[in-house]
Symmetry: C2
Subunit: 569 residues, 2 copies
C-alpha cells in the first residue's frame, strides 16, 4: 500500500510506499502515530508544520459492513493537542480500495490561493480551486461531482474551514447525492483551510482490496454482518436501525444528563418532541427517508433524511448529539428548527456539537434567547457571513466564553462537551477530562453502560472509562462504526479473524489489545510534548460546584482518580 504525500508549499504530490513502521496501523492508529513521529507537538496548528492526515481503517476496502469510516488527524487548533475525527461516506472505502493507506497533507499554500486534490486509481494531483472559494460544502460537492462524475467522492470544507474557524469540520460525501458526513470535531476543517486545500475528489474505485486468507476473512465478515442483523439493537426491529443515534433522547433525559439551556439542567421539558421515535414519525409522514445508510453495505442503516412539511429534504442524518446541542441545549423543542440549524452547520462546515455549545454560551451572555429560534438562526447566519460575531461562534464554546466573559463553558481540553452532562453521567465526565482527544463521546461513551455502573456514582467510572477508551481506539483504527460494537465485544476473535483474513499477520487477541492501547499511549505522548499536564485533563470548575437538576448532581470524581485512569494502560 502507499502514502500520498501532498506538499501544499511546493504544490507537489508524491506517492510513496508505506514505511514498515506504519504498515500495521490504520485509521486513528495511523494518523496519531504519523503525527507523533512527524509533527512537532508544539507547532502552530494552523501553520505550515502541522500535517493533515486522512486514513481509512484497517478493515476498509474489503466490504466489511460499517467499516468504511475515514479517520482524519492533525494537531488540533481547538485543543492544542492531537486530534482524530472520523466520518462515514464513501471516502474511507474508496481510498483503501485504491491501495492508499493515508493521504498526508503538509506545508501551506500561499495565502488566498485555493487548491483541490484529485485522486484516481493511478494518479494524484493538485488542481486550482479558486472557483470554489466561499462555497458551502453542499455546493462544493455538487460542483465537483458535476465536473468529475456523480460517483466521485468529495471531501471538502465550507466557509468555516476556509476562514480558519476552530470549530470547522471536514465533510465527505457518500454514494451519489448523499451528503452530511462530517469529521466534525477538533477544528480539523481549519487545518485543511490553513493548507489552502478546499477539497479532495476521489474517483470511484473499481476493485476491492486483496485478501491474505479469503476463507478466514469471509467466514468472519459474514458472521459479523449476520450478528449485527440479528442484534436486537442494530437489527431491523432495533432502535438503532429505526431511530439512529436519536433513539437515546428519552433515555438521556431520563437519567438527567440531557444538556439543556447551556448545561444548566439535565432534563428538558420538551424532550418528547426531540425523541427519535418522533423524528421517525415525522419523516415518514412527510415522505422523507429513513433506514438508509451512510456507507455502502451497512446492514444497520440508521440514517434518516429529515424533510420539511412540504416533504422537501432538509438534512440527513439528524443525530443525537446535534439534537442535544442544537436542540435542548438551546431550549429548542422543535426538530424542524434543529434540522435547519444542522443543515447550516453542515453547509458552513461546522461541528454541530461545538457550535451548539458556543451558541448556548452566547445565549447565556444575552446574544439570543433560549427557545427563540429566530434569534438563534440570526446568530447562526453570522457564522456563514464571517462577521466577528460569527467568527467568535465558529471558534467554539471556549473562545465564545472568553470573549463574552462567561465562565459556564461546558468544555474539556478546549473542546465542547457532547450531549451528556458529566455531572449525571460521570463515566463520560472521566472520558471528557482524560481523553487525549478532549471532550468527546466517541472517545469512550459510558451511556451504554449505565445499567452496569451507576452514572451518578463517582466509583467505578475510572475503570469504565479506560475500558471504553480502548474500545474506541479499536473502532477508530479499524474503521468500524460505534454501532457495530456488540459482536466484536462479545467475541474479540471475530475482529482478529477479519484482520488476519485481510493481512495474514497472524495477530492474537493480545496483539490487537496492545495495538489499541498503543493508540492512547501515542496520543498521550503527543499531548505531553505539546505541554499538557494533569492540570489540563480536568472538568470545568463550575461543574464541580453547581448542582445539576434533576438529581442535584455535581461532578465529584476526585482529581486523583482522573490522574490514575491510564495507570493500567
Amino acid at each position: 500500500m502507499k502514502l500520498v504525500r501532498v506538499d501544499m508549499t511546493q504544490l507537489q504530490v508524491q506517492q510513496t510506499p508505506v514505511p514498515a513502521m506504519y504498515e500495521r496501523l490504520g485509521g486513528r492508529a495511523l494518523t496519531s502515530k504519523l503525527l507523533l513521529e512527524q509533527v512537532s507537538a508544539t507547532c502552530d496548528a494552523l501553520g505550515p508544520h502541522n500535517k493533515l492526515i486522512f486514513a481509512p481503517g484497517l478493515l476498509a476496502g474489503v466490504n466489511v459492513t460499517t467499516a468504511g469510516r475515514l479517520s482524519v488527524g492533525a494537531k488540533s487548533p481547538l485543543t492544542g493537542g492531537i486530534k482524530e475525527a472520523n466520518a462515514g461516506g464513501t471516502s474511507g472505502d474508496t481510498l483503501a480500495k485504491m491501495g492508499i493507506k493515508a493521504v498526508v497533507v503538509e506545508g501551506q499554500a500561499r495565502k488566498g490561493e485555493w487548491h483541490l486534490l484529485r485522486i484516481t486509481e493511478n494518479s494524484a494531483e493538485l488542481l486550482p480551486a479558486d472557483d470554489l472559494r466561499g462555497l458551502g460544502t453542499y455546493a462544493t460537492a455538487d460542483k465537483l461531482q458535476e465536473r468529475f462524475g456523480a460517483d466521485s467522492t468529495v471531501i471538502s470544507i465550507g466557509q468555516a474551514g476556509e476562514g480558519l474557524m476552530t470549530g470547522a469540520s471536514i465533510a465527505t460525501t457518500g454514494q451519489h447525492d448523499q451528503r452530511s458526513n462530517h469529521a466534525a470535531r477538533g477544528g480539523l476543517g481549519a487545518v485543511m483551510g490553513s493548507k489552502g486545500l478546499k477539497a479532495i475528489v476521489i474517483d470511484r474505485a473499481r476493485a476491492s482490496g486483496q485478501l491474505a486468507d479469503a476463507d478466514l476473512f469471509r467466514t468472519a465478515s459474514k458472521r459479523f454482518a449476520a450478528e449485527l442483523i440479528n442484534d436486537p439493537k442494530t437489527g431491523q426491529k432495533g432502535s438503532q436501525h429505526l431511530y439512529g443515534t436519536a433513539s437515546i433522547v428519552a433515555a438521556v433525559n431520563e437519567i438527567g444528563s440531557l444538556p439543556t439551556r447551556n448545561f444548566s439542567s439535565g432534563s428538558f421539558e420538551e424532550s418528547a418532541k426531540l425523541r427519535g421515535e418522533h423524528l421517525r414519525e415525522l419523516i415518514l409522514a412527510r415522505e422523507g427517508k429513513v433506514g438508509t445508510n451512510c456507507m455502502p453495505g451497512c446492514v444497520i442503516s440508521c440514517r434518516n433524511q429529515h424533510a420539511d412539511e412540504q416533504g422537501k429534504p432538509i438534512v440527513g442524518t439528524l443525530q443525537y448529539e446535534t439534537i442535544a446541542l442544537l436542540g435542548s441545549n438551546l431550549g429548542l423543542g422543535n426538530l424542524d428548527d434543529v434540522a435547519q440549524l444542522n443543515y447550516m452547520c453542515n453547509d458552513f462546515g461546522l461541528d454541530t456539537i461545538e457550535t451548539g455549545a458556543a451558541i448556548g454560551v452566547a445565549i447565556e451572555a444575552g446574544l439570543a434567547k433560549f427557545g427563540d429560534a429566530a434569534s438563534i438562526f440570526a446568530l447562526m447566519q453570522e457564522i456563514g457571513k464571517g462577521t466577528v460575531v460569527g467568527r467568535m461562534l465558529g471558534n467554539g464554546a471556549v473562545a465564545t466564553g472568553r470573549i463574552l466573559g462567561i465562565r459556564r463553558v461546558p468544555a474539556a481540553l478546549g473542546q465542547a462537551m457532547p450531549g451528556y452532562d458529566p455531572r449525571s453521567l460521570k463515566g463520560n465526565g472521566v472520558t471528557y477530562a482524560t481523553s487525549p482527544q478532549g471532550a468527546d463521546h466517541t472517545a469512550g461513551n459510558a451511556f451504554g453502560a449505565r445499567k452496569e455502573v451507576n452514572p451518578l456514582a463517582a466509583q467505578g467510572q475510572k475503570e469504565l472509562s479506560l475500558k471504553l477508551q480502548i474500545i474506541a481506539a479499536m473502532l477508530d483504527s479499524t474503521g468500524l462504526c460505534l454501532f457495530a460494537r456488540p459482536p466484536v465485544l462479545a467475541d474479540p476473535q471475530l475482529l482478529i479473524d477479519m484482520i488476519n483474513g485481510v493481512y495474514g499477520w497472524g495477530w492474537t487477541k493480545e496483539d490487537a489489545d496492545r495495538a489499541h492501547r498503543d493508540v492512547l499511549r501515542t496520543e498521550l505522548e503527543f499531548n505531553r510534548r505539546a505541554g499538557f499536564t494533569s492540570a489540563d485533563y480536568r472538568i470545568p470548575e463550575y461543574m464541580r460546584e453547581e448542582p445539576l437538576a434533576p438529581h442535584n448532581a455535581v461532578f465529584d470524581v476526585p482529581d486523583a482518580e482522573l490522574d490514575a485512569v491510564f495507570s493500567t494502560l
Copy 2:
C-alpha cells in the same frame, strides 16, 4: 502590620495580623507567595477561588523616593498563570503608612452587584457601589474623591474590568487630580470585576511608618535620593527626567526593534514624530506639564501631561510602551492620536500594550487600516461600548488572533509583547518566553544592556535575562520604580541598609539575593501547578521563521537555552 481580608461572597471585611511566614515579604514577593500558598493554581481565574491581592513594597510608607509602587497580584485570566503588575500613584505609600501589608480580596459578590471597599486609618468596610456601574476610571475617581475627599486615593476598574475583559487594568490615582497610573498587565482588572469590586477608596494617611534604625535608614535613603539626582539619566538634565520612558523611541527604532504594523517591521519611518524629545517640545509649546511625578517625593519626576493643540490636557503620562503599541505598531506617527487612544484605554481600564497589540492583529485581519487614525478610533470605541468586536479586542491579542484567524500574534504565555520586537532584542525574547509573568518588559528588560550584550546575537541572552529577572523581582518587591535601579545596582548594600533601617532584620546581601530569587521560584512553582511546561515558555513560531526588517533577524535562541534560564536560579 496587618492584612485586610475582604470576603466578597459574605461581604465581610476582617483585619488580621500578618502571619509570620509573610512578614518579610512585600509587593510582588508577597502577592506571589500568598497566591502560591492560598490559591489553587488550577482554579478558574474569574471564579470565586481566585484572590486579588494588593500589596505595597517593603520600602513603601517611609518616604523612600520612587518606592511607593503598589503591587497587584492574582492568577491571571489572560495567561492562566501567576501575575503581578504594579503602579505608581499614592496607594502603595498610603496603605503602608496605615500598617496594611496587603489587601486580600476573596470570593465573589452576586452577579451584577457592585461594591466598593473603603479603607481608613481605623476601619475597612464594603459599601454599595451600584451607582458607579459603567463608569470609566476617570469618572469613578472624580466621583469618589468628591464623596470621600480630594486627598483620597482611588483604585478602580473601568468598563473593561466590569465586563471581565482579560486585557483589563486596575487604575490608581496619585495626588489630588493625578490619574493614569495602571497596574495594567495580565487582566487583573477582570479579576477585580469578577469579584464585584468596582473600587477601593483609601483615606489620606496621617503618619509615616515606623523605623527600626532611623539613622541607618536616613543615611541610606538620603544617599539613594542624592544618587538619583546626580545620575546622568535620572537627574535634572537626564533623558529620563526630561522625556520619561519615551526617551528611548529613537534608540529602539535604531536597533530595529520598534514594533511596527503588527510586528512586521522593527523600524518605523515616522518614528521621529513619536520621540520623547518631540513629545516634550509639543507639550511645552502647548503649555502642558512636564517634569511632574506619579508618586509624591519622587526625585526623578519623569511624568508628562500631554495636552491638545488648545492646551487642554489629554492624558498623562504618555509612556514608551504605549507609544510603541498604540503608535508605530498601528502605523500611527502622531502623538496626539496616541494620546487620545491612551486616554481611552485608561478610561475603559485597559492595558495599552495588550490593546495596541490586539488592534494590530485586528488591522492585519482587515478591521481597520494601519496609519488610519479614524478607523482605529472606531475600533477602540467598540471596546467602551462592549460590543462583541470591542470585547474581542478587550480580551487581548491572542483572543483576537484566534477569533480572526490570524497567526501572527506577538505574544508569549498568552500575553502581548511590549515595545521591543524579540527578534532584534533577543534578551527580551528570552524574558518574554521564560518569565512566569508572560511577555513583560518589566520582568527583565535587556534594552538597557544592549551595549554589553549584542541584541542580535543568540549568545549571552540567557544569562542576561536571568540577571535582569532577579533585579526586576527586587524592584517589584521593594516597590521601587524601574528608573531607580542604578544606585542599588551600583551598591546593593544601599538597598539592604534601607530595608534594615526600616525593619531591623539585619539582612545581608545574600539574604536579599535569596529573597529576590525566591520570588521567581515561587512564581515558577505556581505556574507549574497551573500546568505550564517548557512547551508554554516559548516565542511564537512565526518569529522564528519570518525575518524582521531592517536586520532580517529571526528569534534564534535555542529552545534548550530557554529551558536552561533558571537552571542557576
